[in-house]
């Protein structure tokens, strides 16, 4: 709710940024819900993580974790996940995901090379595990015989336990 002074350069930058975001946003509803082309479904990454934010939404929520980056420093990663209704059908409610909690996560990485991607599972501190039915095994992103059934597992960062 705060406003800031803007000079012309900032204004242009912001407007260009907004245009890019808007363009991406207009394209997103179709590609995000029906296409998995942005994720490498043949690979599964895993890491201990700290939940920073759960941006609830439908058809997909976005989850922000802090994991140990390749350089050993904390790194924020954003992953696409399920809608509140889908999580509810799996027996999970928003109150189960507490900001600051430590949990284990697995995900299909983005093809772009950006850290993050499509969330596969979350194991909560109490041991309960949410497996994304839409994107995990059995979901449309893992058709029979697809690479997901023979996923190549990897920890993040590569070669480490990824302790946060």
């Amino acid at each position: 709710m705060q406003t800031g002074s803007t000079n012309l350069k900032q204004h242009i930058l912001v407007n260009v940024g907004c245009s890019v975001i808007l363009a991406a946003g207009l394209a997103a509803p179709v590609s995000a819900h029906h296409s998995f082309s942005g994720y490498d479904m043949s690979k599964t990454m895993s890491a201990p993580a700290t939940l920073k934010e759960f941006r609830w939404g439908a058809p997909h929520s976005m989850v922000v974790f802090v994991i140990k980056g390749a350089d050993g420093k904390p790194q924020e990663v954003t992953m696409a996940s399920a809608s509140p209704a889908a999580l509810n059908r799996a027996g999970f409610k928003p109150r189960d995901f507490k900001v600051g909690d430590k949990m284990d996560v697995t995900w299909n990485p983005s093809k772009s090379g950006a850290v993050g991607g499509q969330l596969k599972t979350i194991t909560l501190p109490d041991g309960r595990k949410f497996a994304d039915a839409e994107f995990g095994p059995g979901g449309p992103g893992a058709a029979p015989g697809s690479p997901d059934t023979q996923a190549q597992d990897a920890q993040f960062p590569p070669g480490t336990s990824g302790a946060n």
Partner: protein, 244 residues
């Protein structure tokens, strides 16, 4: 022919009256709160009656953490409205330093905020419920919102004399009560909104949340009437500092 014209004119007058009555219920309401309003004394925090906010241990822990983050300028860690123009939610919106306009209509009272053109609805018994989504999922609809809550839930309103009483529940837990004070999913607010004079509006807000407060607490905010001018098209993202 003349009789037909008279009949049509009479029917037209009836229709005009019906439309007028259905879209402007002000005359039927006990008070007319319509108009453009602005907070009398801009403030970043609600001032609790009785001196201090009755935090639980959990509430105080979160509050102090937010204070530290605020001092460090780490808004993206606790204040998504300031960091990235997310909805400030209720009741924080009622602290907006910018104007808002109240519309009283049949069955619903609307509050249109100048800030980012955010809109609040108070259901007076005539608001059609939001569509629910099917088991297969779909757009973010009633089922999803019922599970997650809203930043600005639809309030339920009724009149007690000339006071509009608006009760609000079903919040998300990731907005703030004001610039710093946190709340949980179970927050409930009860607002008593009334004219204390022709040009002064008062909102007495009672806040309950057993997770964060040991008992309900109240605060009062007053607003001054403003000219009914058109609001500018202000988009928060357009004025977000590039370095935040």
């Amino acid at each position: 022919m003349r009789r037909v014209h008279q009949s049509l004119r009479f029917t037209g007058a009836l229709l005009f009256c019906a439309v007028s009555l259905s879209f402007s219920a002000v005359a039927a309401d006990p008070a007319n709160l319509e108009g453009t309003w602005k907070i009398a004394a801009p403030q970043g925090a609600f001032k609790p009656e009785g001196g201090s906010i009755p935090f639980t241990a959990e509430g105080r822990k979160h509050y102090q953490a937010n204070k530290k983050l605020q001092a460090a300028g780490k808004f993206d860690d606790f204040d998504y409205a300031t960091a990235r123009c997310a909805s400030p939610g209720l009741p924080r919106l009622m602290l907006t330093p910018e104007r808002f306009r109240i519309w009283q209509r049949s069955g619903v009272i609307g509050v249109q905020f100048e800030w980012n053109r955010v809109y609040r609805q108070i259901d007076m018994g005539g608001l059609i419920p939001q569509s629910r989504v099917g088991a297969a999922g779909g757009p973010f609809g009633g089922d999803d919102e019922a599970l997650v809550g809203r930043a600005i839930p639809i309030s339920k309103g009724h009149w007690e004399g000339d006071t509009l009483v608006a009760t609000t529940e079903g919040f998300q837990n990731n907005t703030l009560i004001d610039n710093v004070v946190p709340h949980g999913y179970d927050m409930k607010t009860t607002e008593r909104i009334r004219l204390v004079s022709a040009d002064t509006l008062e909102d007495r807000i009672r806040i309950e949340d057993p997770e964060y407060f040991t008992k309900p607490w109240e605060t009062v905010v007053t607003y001054k009437r403003q000219p009914d001018e058109a609001f500018p098209e202000k988009v928060c993202l357009d004025s977000l500092p590039a370095n935040r």
